[in-house]
C-alpha cells in the first residue's frame, strides 16, 4: 500500500515520519508542494491514500486532491491543516474521498487511527478484560476521558450485549452513594463514553434514556471468548481494579 504525504514544511513531514515509523507496513512517500511531480507519481503508482496540507505556497491541497482523484479514483484523502476547515467546506468529488482531518499540531493517535481505517475498511475494537482493563482500536490504545466512563464500558462489555439499565450501572459503579449524587456522575460517565466512542469513530453503544446496549459487531473480547470456550487465559485475573467484577467471574 502506497501513501503519499504532501506538505511544504519539512518539520511537518518530519513529524509525520516520526509518528508512523515502524508502526504500519505501508510505503510512504513524502513530497513538498510540487504538484506536477506529485501527479507524475500518481500516474505511475497506485496510491491508496494522500495526506495533504491545504495552505501551501505553490499549490492548494484541496485542488491537488481534486487532481489526484481524477488520476486515482479509489484514493482516500486526509487533510492535515492548521486552518479551520471541515467537511462542510468541501465539495464533491473531494468530499466523497475525504476520510478525515488532522488539525496541526495533531495527536499521533489520531493519525494512527486514520491510518488503520485506511488500511482496513472496518475498524475493530479489542477489549482486554483479564488483567488491567484496556481497549484497542486496530491495535491503538483507546484513551477514555474519565476512569468511570472506562469502568462503565467494562461493565457494558461484561453484560455481553445485554441492555444495561441506569439503576444497575449505578448500583455497581457507585454502590455506596446516594442516588441524587450518583445520577449526575452516571450521566457524566455516559456523556464521556459517548464522546470517546465518537472520537475513535466506533459507535458500538446504543444510548437510550436510562439504558445502554452494546452492539457486539467487530468487537473481540477475551472474556467473551472465555464464556464461549471455557478456556482461561494465562493470567486469569478478571478486571482486577473493579469491585463489581467478582460477581461475574470466579475461578
Amino acid at each position: 500500500m502506497k501513501i503519499i504525504i504532501v506538505d511544504d514544511e519539512m518539520s511537518a513531514l518530519h513529524t509525520f515520519l516520526s509518528d508512523v515509523i515502524g508502526r504500519t507496513d505501508a510505503d510512504y512517500k513524502f513530497f513538498k508542494d510540487d504538484a506536477p511531480e506529485i501527479c507524475d507519481y500518481a500516474v505511475k503508482n497506485n496510491i491508496a491514500a494522500a495526506f495533504l496540507d491545504i495552505n501551501m505556497p505553490k499549490t492548494n491541497g484541496i485542488e491537488l486532491a481534486g487532481k489526484l482523484i481524477e488520476l486515482q479514483p479509489e484514493i482516500k484523502i486526509v487533510f492535515i491543516t492548521g486552518l479551520d476547515v471541515s467537511e462542510k467546506d468541501l465539495r464533491e468529488p473531494v468530499s466523497g474521498h475525504t476520510v478525515g482531518f488532522l488539525y496541526k499540531p495533531y495527536d499521533s493517535e489520531a493519525l494512527l487511527r486514520l491510518l488503520s481505517s485506511i488500511e482496513r475498511e472496518t475498524p475493530k475494537l479489542t477489549a482486554k478484560m483479564f488483567g488491567t482493563f484496556d481497549c484497542f482500536i486496530n491495535n491503538n490504545l483507546v484513551r477514555f476521558s474519565s476512569k468511570k466512563s472506562k469502568e462503565l464500558f467494562a461493565l457494558l462489555l461484561t453484560y455481553n450485549g445485554k441492555s444495561l439499565s441506569m439503576t444497575d450501572a449505578i448500583s455497581q459503579l457507585w454502590p455506596d452513594m446516594e442516588t441524587d449524587k450518583s445520577k449526575p456522575l452516571y450521566r457524566d460517565a455516559v456523556w464521556r463514553l459517548r464522546k470517546t466512542l465518537k472520537e475513535i469513530n466506533f459507535n458500538c453503544v446504543e444510548f437510550e434514556r436510562a439504558k445502554l446496549t452494546l452492539n457486539k459487531l467487530n468487537i473481540s473480547c477475551d472474556y467473551w471468548e472465555y464464556l464461549e470456550t471455557g478456556q482461561l487465559p494465562a493470567k486469569p485475573v478478571f478486571l482486577k481494579s473493579y469491585n463489581w467484577s467478582q460477581e461475574y467471574f470466579t475461578e
Partner: protein
C-alpha cells in the same frame, strides 16, 4: 436625531404633501368650475381619482428608489386599485357620466362597484393581518376569497330582484366575523392600536356608505344633499396617510432596533474576543507544555494538541455567534483539561447532560468555569467539582453550571468579572435569556440559564 429616522421622516412628509397636493388640485379645479358638479357631489369622486393618480406616482417613485416592491407598497396598491374601481363604478360617478350624456347600465355598474367594495374590505383585512401578525392561514385566505365570490354572485343575482341589500348585509356580517381574530390580537398587543381603530372606522364608514348608496340607488331612501362620497373621500385620504405613517413608524422602529442591535452586538463580540484568550493563560499553558515535554514526549504531544484545540476554538469564535451546546461542552472540556494540567490541585468536571440539542453563544460558559476556580476556589477543595447540567422540561431547557466551592458575594463578583458580564450580554442579545447567579458562602455557586423552547413560526417582522 438618528440619520435613518431623519431620512424616513423626510420621505414620509414628502409623500404626504404629494397626497394632499391631489386634494388641493381637485379643490381648485372644482372651485374654478373645471370639474362639473352634480347634485350628489361627483367632484369628490373625481378628486379621488386625481388623488389616486398621485398615489401611482408615489408608488412608482418608491419602486424606483427601493428597486423592489415592499410589503407596504403592495398593500397600498391593492387598496388603491380597489378604491379606484369603487369610485369609477359608484352611483355618483355614473350620475356624473349621465350629466355628460353618457348612459351606462346602472345595474352592471352597481355590481362591479360591489365587487370593488369587497376587494377594498378584503385588502384591509389582509393589511391588518399583516400589521398585527394575526395568524392568517392560506386556508382562511382562500375561504375569504370564496366568500367574496359567493357574495358577489348573490349580489349580482339579487340586484335584478332589487334585493341586493341582503347580500351586502351578509358580506358585512362575514367581515365582522373575520375581524374578530384581528380584534383579539390587537387587544392583547397594546402598541399600534390607533391606526387600527382608525382604519377600522374607515371600513365601517365605507360599509355604511355602500349600504346607504345602495338604498338610495334603489330609491328606498332619498339622496342626501351633499352626497355620501364626500365623507367617504375624506376618509379615504386620511386612511392612506395613516397606513403610510403606520408603516413608516414600524419600519423606523425595526430599522433603529436592527442598527442598534448590530452596533451593540459588534461591541460585545469584539469584547468577547479580546476577553477570551488571556495572555497569561497562553504563556502559562506554554510553560506547562514545555515542562511536560521534559517529563514525557507523549504527554507533551497531548498537551500541545489540547492547547491548539483551545486556540482554534477561540479563533473560530470570532466568526460565530451560536454553536451547538455539544461543541461548547467540548471546548469546556479542553479548557478544563488544560487548567488541570497546570495546577497541582485538580477539580472534577461533571457533565450531567440530559439534553444537548440546543445552541448557546460560543464560549459563553467558560467564564463561569473560570469564575468557579477564581472565586469559588473549587480546585482547592479535595472533592471540588464543577457540574454542568442540562435538563429538558416542558417549557424549555434548564442549563446550570454549579460548583461546591466556597461561594462569593454575587453583588461584587459578576459586576467585576469582565467575562461574566460579556457572557450575560451575549446570552441576552443572542437568545433573549438571562443567566442568574446565586451563591452561598460555604456551599457553592449556581448559574442558571433557562432557555425556553423555540416557538414554532415566530412572527417577527423582517424589515431589511
Amino acid at each position: 436625531m438618528n440619520r435613518i429616522l431623519k431620512k424616513r421622516l423626510a420621505a414620509a412628509i414628502a409623500n404626504l404633501i404629494l397626497l394632499f397636493a391631489g386634494t388641493v388640485t381637485a379643490a381648485i379645479l372644482g372651485a374654478c368650475g373645471v370639474v362639473p358638479d352634480s347634485p350628489y357631489g361627483d367632484s369628490i369622486d373625481v378628486l379621488c381619482i386625481i388623488t389616486l393618480c398621485f398615489m401611482a406616482v408615489i408608488l412608482i417613485v418608491e419602486m424606483v428608489a427601493m428597486l423592489k416592491i415592499s410589503d407596504s407598497t403592495r398593500h397600498t396598491v391593492y387598496i388603491a386599485g380597489a378604491t379606484l374601481g369603487m369610485c369609477l363604478f359608484s352611483t355618483d360617478f355614473t350620475n356624473m357620466l349621465a350629466g355628460y350624456g353618457v348612459s351606462v347600465n346602472m345595474q352592471v355598474f352597481d355590481c362591479i362597484d360591489f365587487v370593488c367594495f369587497e376587494a377594498v374590505t378584503l385588502a384591509l383585512v389582509y393589511f391588518w393581518n399583516y400589521t398585527y401578525n394575526v395568524n392568517f392561514s392560506v386556508r382562511t385566505g382562500r375561504a375569504a376569497l370564496v366568500a367574496a365570490a359567493v357574495a358577489a354572485g348573490a349580489y349580482t343575482g339579487l340586484t335584478f330582484a332589487n334585493l341586493q341589500i341582503i347580500a351586502l348585509v351578509l358580506w358585512i356580517a362575514g367581515l365582522g366575523a373575520a375581524l374578530a381574530r384581528v380584534y383579539q390580537r390587537v387587544y392583547t398587543d397594546g402598541s399600534d392600536n390607533l391606526p387600527f381603530y382608525l382604519t377600522e372606522a374607515y371600513l365601517f364608514a365605507a360599509c355604511g356608505d355602500c349600504l346607504a348608496d345602495t338604498l338610495c340607488g334603489e330609491k328606498l331612501i332619498p339622496f342626501p344633499p351633499l352626497g355620501f362620497n364626500s365623507f367617504y373621500a375624506v376618509a379615504f385620504i386620511l386612511i392612506f396617510a395613516l397606513i403610510y405613517v403606520t408603516y413608516a413608524m414600524r419600519t423606523d422602529r425595526a430599522a433603529l432596533k436592527a442598527s442598534e442591535y448590530k452596533l451593540q452586538y459588534e461591541r460585545v463580540r469584539t469584547e468577547a474576543l479580546r476577553g477570551q484568550i488571556k495572555p497569561h493563560f497562553i504563556f502559562n499553558s506554554l510553560a506547562a507544555i514545555q515542562s511536560l515535554y521534559h517529563k514525557s514526549t507523549e504527554d507533551g504531544d497531548r498537551a500541545t494538541s489540547l492547547f491548539s484545540r483551545h486556540l482554534r476554538a477561540n479563533i473560530e469564535a470570532g466568526n460565530t455567534d451560536l454553536i451547538p451546546f455539544e461543541k461548547e461542552l467540548d471546548n469546556i472540556q479542553v479548557y478544563a483539561e488544560l487548567e488541570n494540567m497546570r495546577y497541582e490541585k485538580k477539580f472534577n468536571l461533571i457533565f450531567d447532560i440530559d439534553d444537548a440539542d440546543f445552541e448557546v453563544p460560543v464560549l459563553s460558559l467558560q467564564p463561569y468555569i473560570e469564575n468557579a476556580m477564581r472565586y469559588s476556589k473549587v480546585n482547592e477543595k479535595a472533592d471540588g467539582y464543577i457540574k454542568i447540567s442540562s435538563v429538558r422540561t416542558a417549557g424549555g431547557i434548564m442549563l446550570q453550571v454549579s460548583d461546591n466551592g466556597v461561594g462569593f458575594d454575587v453583588n461584587v463578583v459578576p459586576s467585576s468579572s469582565y467575562g461574566i458580564k460579556n457572557s450575560k450580554a451575549r446570552f441576552e442579545i443572542l437568545m433573549g435569556v438571562e443567566p442568574e447567579i446565586t451563591s452561598e458562602a460555604g456551599k457553592g455557586t449556581v448559574v442558571s440559564i433557562f432557555i425556553p423552547a423555540a416557538e414554532g413560526g415566530t412572527n417577527e417582522d423582517n424589515y431589511s
